[in-house]
Symmetry: C2
């Protein structure tokens, strides 16, 4: 029954086999997520974009949730890349100054990404951490091998090493810093701060980072 080639059946694609359907579905899902967030990641639509029957997806993902988890992991990796890019820009010299600049860079990169790609950002955090795919980052197309969380932890370590932060305060500090930055990002997309413009954002981020540094 399946496209027995009887007559006028236009095949979806030249070859029966796709080549790399898994990747194609992931890319399609990412496009959808970018456009309109996690709820827009629709299985049937993804297969349509890949030029394949709906059920083909089940050869690569257990269900819609699994696809979404994969897309989410990719989005998280994209966030990590954005942060690393911002870190790479830091030119400040002198240990303390540099460490502080790098902490700020993490915050800026984080918030910038959230504003530039709200759909991906929301998708990254739409999957509870205990269900996130544990696939290796490279598989998800990530440049960075570290999670955003780990990147933040790294800059805090630098802060301690530079003597800009008491060692005693270090354990668990990443949770506090993360809270502040993540919360700000949420307020900036869809929250009370959604109307703030680019320069306003920069100001708030600076103030927030200041608060974190002093407060930690």
């Amino acid at each position: 029954m399946a496209g027995t080639g009887v007559a006028g059946m236009t095949p979806r694609r030249a070859t029966y086999r796709h080549g790399d359907l898994r990747r194609a579905l992931l890319d399609a899902g990412t496009t959808l997520a970018r456009r309109a967030g996690p709820e827009a990641v629709v299985l049937r639509e993804a297969t349509r974009m890949a030029g394949v029957a709906p059920n083909a997806a089940y050869r690569h993902f257990a269900d819609r949730q699994a696809l979404l988890a994969a897309v989410s992991a990719a989005a998280m990796a994209a966030l990590a890349d954005a942060i690393e890019a911002e870190l790479a820009e830091v030119k400040a010299s002198g240990p303390k100054r540099r460490a502080r600049a790098r902490l700020r860079a993490v915050g800026v990169g984080y918030v910038r990404f959230a504003r530039a790609e709200p759909g991906l950002f929301r998708t990254a955090f739409s999957v509870p951490a205990d269900m996130a795919t544990a696939t290796d980052p490279a598989k998800a197309g990530a440049t960075s091998l570290l999670t955003p969380f780990q990147l933040l932890g790294g800059t805090l370590d630098e802060l301690v090493a530079a003597g800009a932060m008491p060692v005693a305060r270090r354990p668990g500090a990443e949770f506090l810093a993360w809270s502040a930055v993540h919360g700000l990002a949420m307020l900036l997309i869809g929250g009370p701060l959604r109307a703030v413009d680019e320069t306003g954002v920069a100001a708030v981020v600076d103030r927030l980072v200041g608060m974190v540094e002093r407060g930690l």
Copy 2:
């Protein structure tokens, strides 16, 4: 055609009119949201609970999104109530001490609610602020007339009045404090901190509040 009473048609309900369907749907939606978050707020299921045909909902809500927005508003009001309850517990005396205790109470109430009612909490923030229903709070069954955001702003004002915070720092400070608390709540439900127990939570909250006070 509609239940012409011809024969064995068991009517859904004694009377044709419902009485207060809007409220019934809102309650049903809230129950669903409490159970499993915003995506569980399903129109048909809500009408089923209310003992009414699916389309009856459209006499009270434009579409599913409108129902969700109303439920979201109710959830936000519940959060405000939780915070007010925590504020009411504060016994500290002396202006500064009291102001600080009240700031802490806001944070504790906020986080407690997020942990106790993750479904409602997520639902409260699932609707972008620009689409939130502007219905008056009383209509949503709220005790408090203020939003969580306004409650936080109030305690910051008290902090300034008590001389525990420089006036110059006040403008916009609620955004920073809010960021921190909201971000922490997110990490606690579904994020890296989801496994922390009650006492652990108290510790983190205290530390976070400390950071905010010092940092602001």
